[in-house]
Subunit: 358 residues, 2 copies
Amino acid sequence: MKKHNFSAGPCILPQEVLKQAADAVVNFNNLDLSLIEISHRSKDFVAVMENARSLVKELLNLPEGYSVLFLQGGASLEFLMTPYNLLKEGGKAAYIDTGAWAAKALKEAKLLGDVEVIGSSKDKTYNYIPKNYTVPSNVDYVHVTSNNTIYGTQFKEFPKTDDALLVCDMSSDIFSRELDFTKFDLVYAGAQKNMGPAGTTLVVVKDEILGKTSRNIPAMLDYQVHLSKDSMFNTPPVFAVYVSMLTLQWLKDLGGVKAIEKLNKEKAALLYAEIDRNPLFKGFAEVEDRSLMNVTFNLTDESTGEVFDKIWNEAGISGIKGHRSVGGYRASIYNAMPIESIQVLVNAMQQFEKEIKN
Amino acid sequence: MKKHNFSAGPCILPQEVLKQAADAVVNFNNLDLSLIEISHRSKDFVAVMENARSLVKELLNLPEGYSVLFLQGGASLEFLMTPYNLLKEGGKAAYIDTGAWAAKALKEAKLLGDVEVIGSSKDKTYNYIPKNYTVPSNVDYVHVTSNNTIYGTQFKEFPKTDDALLVCDMSSDIFSRELDFTKFDLVYAGAQKNMGPAGTTLVVVKDEILGKTSRNIPAMLDYQVHLSKDSMFNTPPVFAVYVSMLTLQWLKDLGGVKAIEKLNKEKAALLYAEIDRNPLFKGFAEVEDRSLMNVTFNLTDESTGEVFDKIWNEAGISGIKGHRSVGGYRASIYNAMPIESIQVLVNAMQQFEKEIKN
């Protein structure tokens, strides 16, 4: 049965990427060897790593002076690496608290120094993006989470930071929209949304910001160590990097970030329009902060849930149950999600309306 | 062409595991979804994680009171996690320096406290395992690297630690031989030798040793955090864990660690016998410390290298060039390596002898 996979992550990947990845697990580059049983220092895998890095630079339109890393540990390890690499001894960092992941990020930073939460939407279960905040003049960096998967909110405008560095966790919306990366100093993203499978973390860093904290940084947490070894300080997660490369190539072939942003806007508009029109649903996030990646919505009458759940289940839809902290539904519509699947969901919502009316 | 893959890691995996892994990348458990695009919290993946953990316990014959984790970051991140979790504030750790990896491990520990190197074989390019060392009475733990891939040495007897904990990096020989795990308090291993692909790290820990350092441990470095979440504090490396589970199942079906140890001894004996017999080769490691996993040897006359290299290349052998610090050759003969491939290498060594004689 054709499935429509709205999982929040790990999530849908392009079908052709899955096919290529499976082939490489049996026979990679016609070597008569599997991708996962060759040395990461072999020329075939070094070429994968270099190609992946180069695709990131091209797709994000990164200027000179930025480097790309593929690491391990997910965004969660970056929560620790950020202050280790950027928070000066005795320094201070500013965080905007837009949800569970932002809160986890700032918790780790507190282990290494002073943290000021300059904005938070915790008062309304994180259903909006704080806007009336002031960036203090004395902070080393400002940290934001660009898209909040659980709540379905997304930064449309990023903080203006004059002296402070701007750090962004883009795990769930990188490669989904055009952004001016010269505004950012450090960007990281777990691969398992728009870039590939779980198991690798993308880091984009402005070279000149590193090496300035005077901290004694453990090797595996030190961006400069990883940069000096081209992401091969230790054995990289070969499969995850390879599938990321394939996914980035797929995006490039499709027209790049500009082209996918147009599609993402059409997809989101189709679904949000149905949520706003259909009296049985209400959106969770504030309209102006709605995410293009994670569409969160609740039933106006929760007692109708069983009826709706049966309908979408029968339509082959999976992964749309909302996070326990928000309830309701979350349709994650990442880059690889075709608009046809969203139409299937919209149809299910309309069928639900008809059944309830009768 | 049939390949004989002697790569030191990532390395050979069982052919049937590669086939099953490739299938799951396209359609996992007949879900009509890929293994790498479903939620790690779905019941299908949770079952994989539980099965992998349970296979580890069974294959290593772990007693009650030990827990199993699948993490990220390789042994290199464990180098840091070990002192964070076990080295008390103001405490001291003892390390035995048997090579590049042991040296990296102790370097990270030095960031958090006092480290005493109680034994080292650096004086002879690590071609032996130190034996006449004394375990000090006042250390929190003793750290050893059970098998040293670069040099081809392996601990046959482990340190007797009375009060101190025993920590072992078993990245390159776990699951290759029967050991009494009640002697160890913490064991870790990057998956990419005998367990699976690069991208996950196995940790076996005795529960009662944790939580005793009074350190404020960052979440991602805290074994207790990972244990409390069953290795799902953050998104696990789904593919690497799944392929590890398949490989562990393969080992169980084959008869477990006892059966593979017998095969590993036969394989190693065949190759070492030829090294000792053939006048054109000499073993690198001291005979009594020879590894069953990585067989290191050099030419007695280096000028003959081109002749030998041509012969093994034509035989379909790959991955036997020695590490740059040792030179010569390294045949890694992990669990999944069939004895037939070792015979092909022995044949190549004998053909080389004939050609040189003529």
